[in-house]
Point group: C2
Chain length 126, copies 2
DNA sequence: ATAAACCTTGGAGTTAACTCCAATGCAAGA
DNA sequence: TCTTGCATTGGAGTTAACTCCAAGGTTTAT
């Protein structure tokens, strides 16, 4: 698969694919005789995985740390599995943060009339 | 309350407070005789609210739209309540996006051994 | 009354994550 | 073979959201 195919298939710009590779978010992709990138299925899966986590809001800096650890422990499968679990845990923390704000909004919405009354009372005192 | 008190109480830098006000994320704060900001309780609540949504990952651009609509419909309380509900809906969508990725990771984790086997099979074929 | 510690502003600098560009080379059709 | 349309690179430009700074005025403690 050349860069254009991957770009279209996974809906990621070619510039972004090259950028991710340059900074080490993707392992180096093989080249053909004329120096063009030739993505294997595994490369494409990796891209898909990075895309999913970027889309879920994980920063590149954080992802880079995981990627480096993941590539380092090439033979320690338990460790690799742990890394996935850790990554999931971080996403769950992000969800919890948002859920807190949802709860806050829900409170505001449910007490909206009351809230407005209080503001009127405040105005009286000014 | 002066800027330093608000900054400490809500754990937001003074620069950020001034920045938010400058771009219109906070309504203009009253000044005392020498031009220093003097935050009312309502100002502080507003800051708290903005902080909560920024913390939940909502962009300033998106928040600005809400703030402008909110300030525009100063007397339309139903509309204001709707805006809060809309904002909550957007946060819930962000949560759903992250949850999808959590599910993807869970799948990877639960099928980890199997996944590794497949990779070995792939290698055989190369 | 003077130093230290505040506040103000406009504007410059920073970081993340792309995005675009120019120069150059390969590839495929008329 | 010539043109059109891909690919490559290094590096410059962009956007978001701060963050810092300098120059100046104010408040507080000694």
């Amino acid at each position: 698969m050349n860069i254009n195919e991957v770009s279209k298939k996974l809906d990621i710009s070619k510039d972004t694919l090259r950028y991710w590779e340059k900074i080490g978010l993707l392992p180096p992709v093989k080249r053909n005789a004329s120096g063009y990138r030739d993505y294997s299925d595994r490369d494409a899966n990796w891209v898909y995985y990075i895309k999913a986590l970027r889309n879920a809001g994980m920063s590149i800096e954080r992802l880079l740390k995981f990627v480096h650890l993941y590539l380092k422990d090439i033979d320690d499968l338990d460790r690799r599995k742990e890394l996935l679990i850790e990554q999931r845990k971080e996403l769950l923390a992000e969800i919890a943060k948002r859920q807190e704000t949802v709860d806050y909004l829900t409170f505001k919405i449910d007490h909206f009339e009351e809230h407005v009354m209080n503001q009127k009372d405040e105005n009286k005192g000014e």
